[in-house]
Amino acid sequence: MSVVSEDTFNSTSHFMGTNAVVQFVLQPILAFGVIFHLSMGIYLDTQNNKARSVKYAMNKPGTNSSWMSRNMKITGIMILLFLGLHFYDFWIPELNTKYIVGDMSGLNEHGGMRYFEELQHKFADPIWVILYVLSFVFLALHLLHGFQSAFQSVGFRHTKYTPIIQKLGNIYAIVVPLGFMFIAIFHYVSQL
């Protein structure tokens, strides 16, 4: 949206940031989901580490499984680090402006909408753009395994549909992060 029209981005951001359903229903559900996913991940991983106390002297896991499937912890931690940064950099200042300072207007000091301007400002910094793009590489790797793995875990597997799910999952895992990367790079390049 930010790529297409400044105004649409501003109004959507304002809507997302002030709408009660989004803020007080959807956002908590998402937050709960993230926390649940994270705590289950940590819990199961601790069990898994305990399940093999002595490691192999020689191991070739690459011969039977993909790197993504074996390193969900690494890609997950990278995504979490990005989330932490995103919180510190975006969420906390947002909360501060809206609920502590009490400014729900979404306006900057000149009376214009502030969202697009803030976004442009963020992506003017090449370091931030690189960090952002890298995080989405990790998200892509995480999803490449995660999407189809989720179906298997709930028992959905079918000779006809599983290959389709795997393909759709691969497309989703690449297209969505690629879209986010594009946004960052677009705004960086457009300000050069």
Partner: protein, 253 residues
């Protein structure tokens, strides 16, 4: 066919007993025929060790024809070695080259404790099986002929495929989480697919999964490594089936 007569360096896990600390030891072995099976190569090594007055290497084996599931070994970083669809007893030395170094380790899992050298205790599998891997059939003398029950060919085939699991434990050894899901799901599936197994389906899956967790196996993260290394080609379809069976049973209970 000419015989290569390979000279090999073997790095083998030696451990006196369950309590002792083990370590990798290096052995040289000469003139190994490419036609030998991997276990025959170990037999040659053991004869050599005995003649030198050393303790032979303990390893599990029984049928030596790929049907009993007794042989094991983690060879050069893979369960049952580098070949596909075979057990260690069916692995041939032609898969290796003269001058190779071969790492030979026991299957590693907390639930498979080492007994001695390369021998591990896989009785955890037996306990899982005892907890639900059976059908209660009346054997009073009026037992119904199995053929009297119509079963779709597709289901019968899938049940048979699941039943080909020989309980070797390569799936556990291979899994980065030492998960036993492939084994347990094969044992659940072979019954779940047949009408005779439907009666106890819910208790079976709940109890077998419970026992699996009690034994200390890890959790499945769907890496798919087990299916690749399984000598019997047990499919991940079985794991999905068990997940379905488990969900159904858990919701109903």
């Amino acid at each position: 066919m000419s015989d290569k007569g390979m000279n090999l360096t073997l790095k083998i896990w030696r451990q006196k007993d369950a309590q002792s600390q083990g370590k990798m030891e290096t052995y040289q072995i000469a003139d190994i025929s490419e036609h030998m099976s991997f276990l025959e190569m170990l037999d040659v090594l053991n004869e050599q060790l005995i003649s030198e007055g050393q303790e032979p290497v303990a390893f599990d084996h029984d049928c030596r024809e790929g049907i009993c599931g007794m042989c094991s070994l983690y060879i050069n970083g893979e369960a049952h070695g580098p070949d596909r669809g075979v057990t260690t007893c069916q692995l041939h030395m032609r898969m290796f080259n003269d001058g190779d170094t071969i790492y030979i380790e026991p299957f590693r899992a907390k639930a498979f404790p080492v007994v001695k050298d390369l021998v591990v205790d896989r009785s955890a599998f037996d306990r899982i099986q005892h907890s639900g891997g059976f059908v209660s059939v009346n054997t009073s003398g009026n037992t119904q002929d199995a053929n009297a029950l119509p079963i779709p060919k597709d289901d019968a085939d899938k049940a048979f495929d699941a039943a080909t699991c020989i309980g070797c434990g390569a799936c556990v050894a291979t899994c980065k989480n030492a998960s036993a899901m492939l084994y347990v799901s094969a044992k659940v599936s072979q019954f779940a697919l047949l009408p005779q197994g439907k009666v106890e389906a819910k208790d079976r899956v709940m109890n077998m999964v419970k026992q699996m967790d009690l034994e200390g196996f890890g959790n499945c993260t769907n890496t798919g490594a087990c299916e690749v290394e399984c000598p019997k080609g047990i499919s991940l379809d079985n794991i999905a089936r068990m997940n379905r069976e488990y969900l159904k049973a858990a919701i109903d209970k």
